[in-house]
Symmetry: C2
C-alpha cells in the first residue's frame, strides 16, 4: 500500500539477514530498530545502528517508501520569527500536497528525547530544522535511513553534514551600520546575538567592517550581546544608554531587541528617532507595528522556507546531491526609527558632555 509508512519492505531481506547475523539477533529485531519500535535493549540497538550505518556506506539500499509528510522541528514556535517561517514552510509543503508535522524543542534547541522514534515510525519525506540542532546520534539514525535533513538559520555553526539555508548576515550587518553612518551617526552601539552562533558573529562582523570602512573606531563599550530576546534588548539598551557618552544610534540585531531598546529609551525619557536612532533585524510584522515603525534589515524568510522545502525534497530523490549552504540576500527597509544625526552638534551627546564637564568642574 502506497501510504504505508514503513521502510521495511524496501530493504532487501538479504540486507536485513546480513545485519541480523552480524549482530547475532533475529531479523525481526533489526526491523524493530529500523522502524523505531520498542522492545530492543539500548545496547543491542546501538550495535544494530552501527551495522546499518556501515551497510549504508558500502551499499545503498533501494529507495525507501515515504509518507507524504514533512517533519519540521522549530525552536520557540510562539516567537514572531518562528511564526513567519512556519507559515512559509506550510505554504510550500501544501502546494506539494505534503503535510507538515510540527514539533517544538526543549530549551536547549533539540527535540524531545523520543522524537526520532516517532519520526522513524512516520517515515516522512524529510526533516527541516528551524533554529535548532539534532544530537549527532539522532542525525545518524535519520541519515542511515536516507531521511534527508535541511536546516534553516541553524542554531550555532552550520553542521557540515546538514545542508542549510540562511541569509546574508554579514551583508545585513553592514547595511544597517552603513545606513546609520550615512545619517551622520558616529557613536553607534550594537546588541549582538550569542557568540557561538554564526549568524550573530556575521552581523557583528558586518558592523565592524562598516565602521572600519568609514574610518570610525569600534568602541568596546558599545558592543553588547544577548540571546535575541526582548529582555536582552531592554537590559543592554539600558546599559548602552546609561554610558557616560551614550550612543546616538543602536543597531539592535533582531527586531525583538529593537523593541526592548524602545522600552529602554522610553524609561529614560529619550524619544525615537529624535534622541536615538534604532535599526532592527529580521523585518517581522512587529517591526511595522512598532511605534514608531522600525527601520530594519529584511530577512527573506519566505524565500528561505521555500528553498528549504525544495531542497529537502530534492535530497529525498537524490540522497547523494552535494549541497552545503545557500544564503539569500538581505536588504534594508527604512521606516521611522532612524534619522539624520545633528552632525556638528549632536544635541543629546553634547548636552550630556556638557553636564559631565560641569560635574567634573564642580567636583574639583
Amino acid at each position: 500500500m502506497a501510504s504505508e509508512p514503513s521502510s521495511e519492505g524496501t530493504r532487501s531481506r538479504a540486507t536485513l539477514q546480513e545485519v541480523a547475523s552480524l549482530a547475532d539477533v533475529s531479523i525481526s529485531t533489526v526491523s524493530k530498530v529500523l522502524n523505531g519500535r520498542a522492545g530492543v535493549s539500548s545496547e543491542t540497538r546501538a550495535r544494530i545502528e552501527a551495522l546499518l550505518q556501515d551497510h549504508r556506506q558500502s551499499q545503498r539500499p533501494p529507495k525507501r517508501q515515504v509518507a507524504p509528510l514533512l517533519e519540521v522541528v522549530c525552536y520557540e514556535i510562539d516567537s514572531p520569527f518562528a511564526g513567519e517561517v512556519l507559515a512559509s514552510i506550510e505554504q510550500a509543503a501544501r502546494q506539494r500536497r505534503i503535510g507538515m508535522v510540527l514539533t517544538g524543542t526543549t530549551p536547549d534547541q533539540t527535540p524531545y528525547e523520543e522524537w526520532v522514534e516517532d519520526v522513524l515510525r512516520r517515515q516522512p519525506v524529510g526533516v527541516v530544522l528551524v533554529a535548532c540542532v539534532l544530537p549527532a546520534e539522532v542525525k545518524q539514525r535519520l541519515l542511515s535511513r536516507d531521511i534527508p535533513l535541511v536546516a534553516i538559520d541553524p542554531a550555532g555553526a552550520p553542521a557540515p553534514d546538514v545542508p542549510s539555508v540562511g541569509s546574508a548576515d554579514w551583508n545585513g550587518g553592514y547595511l544597517a551600520t552603513r545606513h546609520l553612518i550615512d545619517l551622520g551617526h558616529r557613536r553607534i552601539g550594537i546588541i549582538t546575538g550569542p557568540g557561538d552562533m554564526m549568524a550573530s558573529t556575521a552581523r557583528l562582523s558586518g558592523y565592524r567592517a562598516a565602521l572600519d570602512a568609514s574610518g570610525l573606531p569600534v568602541a568596546p563599550e558599545l558592543v553588547r550581546s544577548g540571546e535575541f530576546h526582548h529582555a536582552d534588548g531592554l537590559a543592554e539598551g539600558l546599559a548602552l544608554l546609561s554610558l557616560p557618552e551614550r550612543p546616538t544610534a543602536i543597531f539592535a540585531s533582531s527586531d525583538l531587541y529593537a523593541l526592548g531598546v524602545y522600552e529602554a529609551a522610553r524609561s529614560l525619557g529619550l524619544a525615537i528617532p529624535a534622541d536615538l536612532s534604532v535599526v532592527g533585524y529580521d523585518d517581522l510584522s512587529i517591526a511595522q507595528w512598532a511605534v514608531p515603525p522600525l527601520t530594519t534589515v529584511h530577512v527573506p524568510l519566505v524565500a528561505m522556507a521555500e528553498q528549504a522545502v525544495h531542497l529537502v525534497l530534492r535530497l529525498a530523490d537524490e540522497p547523494d546531491l552535494a549541497f552545503s549552504r545557500i544564503d539569500i540576500d538581505t536588504t534594508l527597509v527604512v521606516r521611522n526609527s532612524t534619522r539624520q544625526a545633528d552632525f556638528v552638534f549632536p544635541p543629546s551627546a553634547e548636552a550630556k558632555r556638557g553636564r559631565s564637564a560641569r560635574t567634573k568642574i564642580s567636583g574639583k
Copy 2:
C-alpha cells in the same frame, strides 16, 4: 500493521458491499471514496458520501484504526495569536506522543480544497480548528468516518455540531471597561471585531453592560469595528481620536488593535497613558513588548489548547460524547497603558470642549 493509516479494514466488508450495490459501483470505488483516493467522478463520490452518511446513522461501524496524528487547521499561522495557540497545542500533543500536522487556511478561513482528501488518507486521531471553519460538506465527510472535530475560538458563531473551546468574552469586555470607568474615564471608545463573530459581539456586550452599570451612556460615535488587524486599530483609532470630543480611553478588543491605536496616538502627538488610556485584549507577548507595556485582558490560550486536545482525544474514544462548548475564564492584566483620568477636569476633553464652545460663539 498498527500504524497503517487506513479505515478500510475496519469497516465490515458487508457494509462496503451494501453501499456499493446501493450506489451501483464496485467495492473498490466505495473504498476509494472512503480513503480519499482519486479516480471517482464527483457525481459518484457525492452519491457514495450520502449513502455512507445514511449508513452511519443506522449502524455505527466498528472503531476505526488511527495514525498517531492530530490535524490542526489554523487561520493566519504567522499571527501572534496563532503562534501562541499552536505552541500550546503542540505541547499538549507531544506529551501524548501524537504528531501535530499543521495546515493554514485560505483568506476565507477554510482549508485548501483538497485538504479533506489528504486528511482521509492520513486518518488522524482528530481535527482541531483554530479561528477557522469547515464547509458543511467537508464536516460531513469527516464526521461520517468518526474523525472528531473541535474548534478553538471559532470564526463566526460556534457551529452546533462542532464542540468548541473558547474564553469568557463577555466577562473580558466587562472587566476592561470597568477598569477604565474605575480610573475615572467617562468617554471610552471601543474597537470591536466583525459583527458576525460571537467573540466580538460578546466583548462589545460586556462593554455596554459595564457602561450601563455605571449609568454611563453608550455613545454611538465611540463604537467602531474592524477585522482584528493592526491596520484597523490604526484607522479606527485615528477616527476616534479625531472626534470633536475625543475619548480619554479606548478599549481595543485585540492586542493588535491596541498597537494600531498606539501608532494613531503617536501620529497625533498624544502620549499614552498621559493623554489616552488603552486596554487591549488577548495578552499576547506583543502586549508586554509594547511601549508602554499594555494593560490587557488575558485570554487563557494555554488552557484552551490543552482542553481542545484533551477533548478531541476523548471524542475519538467516545464518538457519542455529548459536548457543545466550554468557556475558560478571562482576567485583567494591568500594565502601564492605563491611568487615572483627571476626574474633575479631564484635561484634553475640557480643553477641546472649550475650543468648540469658542468656535461656536465666534461663528455666530
